[in-house]
């Protein structure tokens, strides 16, 4: 029962963080501020959803499976790299725009 409550809280808060990241992506004024929403909030949201899935599997089966945690691990490694590359591409795009 209490494990189910923990899983429900984690999955709803994770989905709320994913929505928050997309609201940031939609509302913020330019590309360098828009980078903040998806790279931080959405990554944390997916991490919380995967942890909730692991906790729910524990509630059903009774054993802890840690292999699902490779998804947020991979996301935590790759999100800064892709954000850095998008920032570099946006810088080059803005410089080309200023020249022409």
């Amino acid at each position: 029962m209490i494990v189910e409550a923990i899983a429900s809280f984690l999955i709803v808060s994770g989905a709320a963080f994913v929505l928050l990241g997309s609201i940031g992506l939609f509302r913020l004024p330019d590309i360098f501020t828009r980078l903040h929403g998806p790279t931080k909030a959405t990554t944390l949201g997916v991490g919380a959803i995967v942890v909730a899935s692991s906790v729910a599997a524990y509630a059903v089966n009774g054993d802890i499976s840690l292999r699902e945690l490779t998804i947020p691990l991979f996301l935590f490694i790759t999100a800064p790299v892709s954000a850095h590359l998008i920032g570099k591409a946006a810088l080059k795009d803005a410089a080309g725009r200023r020249q022409s």
Partner: protein, 89 residues
């Protein structure tokens, strides 16, 4: 309780996908669209994990990991194309 939470979170992630699609359609520059596509891949991971929780299968794990890998590779390839006009130096 868990079923209600799954329904609520599916609605929230669906709204996030709709906002990201709007940014993908509007986005004034190319990096905006690349960022929206990257976010769509991450939203797809969240949806796959939630649906796997709803159906109580362990099969969704491999699909989510594959989506994460392919989303990252696609983002890196598009960004490197914009930066240097060639993907593999």
């Amino acid at each position: 309780m868990l079923t209600t939470a799954i329904t609520v979170s599916l609605v929230l992630v669906g709204a996030a996908v709709a906002l990201t699609l709007l940014r993908l359609a509007l986005g004034p520059t190319m990096p905006d669209r690349i960022l929206a596509l990257d976010t769509l891949a991450i939203d797809a991971i969240a949806l796959v994990v939630i649906l796997g929780l709803l159906n109580a299968t362990a099969l969704s794990f491999e699909a989510a990991l594959l989506l994460a890998t392919m989303g990252f590779v696609g983002t890196v390839a598009l960004c490197k194309f914009l930066i240097g006009r060639n993907i593999i130096d």
